[in-house]
Symmetry: C2
Subunit: 195 residues, 2 copies
DNA sequence: GATGATTTCTAGCAACGCTAGATACCAGAG
DNA sequence: CTCTGGTATCTAGCGTTGCTAGAAATCATC
């Protein structure tokens, strides 16, 4: 019994090691630099070991994405609970969103741009993912107008943030006016007469 | 003289052939299926010929992107000139935007998501690109409120559309409520009391 | 028809994700 | 302590990718 559990523990530890190494490598040099060979060398094992833990490179990226979502949700939660009015809350969460995306581009890509096969808009979506969306949702709820759907408005806000971030990061939008664009988006989402 | 011009003409024709083949292949099977070998085989030349025309695969994709931008701008222009009120115009252009993105995913990716080294938010940006942005800009201009910058609001609208399209296409947002989200975005951009 | 430049192709490099088959390891039985 | 069976790991290699050097073929000109 003990021998079995020790092995399982070591296996789990190595799996965490793989995900951490992939994350560090990606954050340091981008996903293009994350190859199975480099990853294997980094964890001091051979390539096939990776495939005994994950179905492929995509699954490793998905694991990194889930881990990233947890951090992401935590940062948004902190921003949300530290804010005052409804408008301030929406701005704080939006700011946390774009700040995270700019500080952790590789993580953000794994979560929201690259093709990783993670279930998203379904109940089977990973908890961290639903939690991150939940933070956005709670920030949006107070500013939902009569006859509007909270979920849909949250998705629309998300899309706005995502668009701003990705277009800016790929050089399609200039960096400098980012804060003004973000303010415009938020200003137009908040109904007139809201505190 | 004539012999030189004939060669240049043939060269230009072959270059168009390459771009067209790349575009067709990408639209039919996605950019993942566009390899230099398949492309070369399709135009009935060997691979190195591609590199005598373009610096690499990225440059070919950039050429396809520019061509796509021209079509894109034309469709948005048609939608814009066919609409009535300011609100209708904004909605028509937004609809044309998302429709194009959904109908030509590969083209859209080359233009707005994949990393192609094209100058964007600068005067050196390709004409087709600036023209496409100009269509958006003209649709936005009538609804710009006092104290707002037209360019910045256009960029924000663009970001919203881009976010909706990319999140939906990657499975992060469910397809079915797309029209409602688009309506929400437009409804919040148009100032109250606008026709 | 020979010559010299230009164009095009053949063949190959290094790197990629991934995997089959060989090898090393190690817990438990005699 | 030795042997055995099963597991864990590695070596080696497949097929593919973007890209390129050097050989071969083509063609205008003398």
């Amino acid at each position: 019994m003990t021998i079995q559990t020790r092995r399982e523990r070591e296996r789990a530890e190595r799996e965490r090691l793989i995900v951490t190494a992939a994350r560090e490598l990606a954050e340091a040099e981008g996903w293009g630099a994350v190859t199975t060979r480099r990853l294997a060398h980094r964890i001091e094992y051979s390539q096939p070991v990776l495939y005994s833990h994950f179905k492929g490179k995509g699954a490793i990226m998905a694991a990194v994405a889930v881990q990233g979502c947890a951090d992401f949700a935590a940062e948004m939660r902190a921003a949300r609970t530290g804010a005052g009015s409804a408008r301030e809350t929406l701005a704080a969460v939006g700011g946390a969103y774009t700040t995270f995306a700019r500080r952790h581009p590789a993580l953000y890509d794994a979560m929201f741009t690259l093709a990783v096969d993670l279930p998203f808009a379904t109940p089977e979506a990973p908890a961290a993912l639903r939690e991150a969306f939940g933070e956005l949702l709670q920030a949006v709820r107070p500013i939902v107008a009569e006859g509007e759907d909270t979920g849909l408005l949250t998705e629309t806000y998300w899309a706005g943030l995502h668009g701003l971030v990705t277009l800016m990061r790929s050089g399609r939008l200039p960096e400098e006016a980012h804060e003004q664009r973000l303010a415009l988006l938020i200003g137009h989402l908040v109904p007139p007469g809201t505190n």
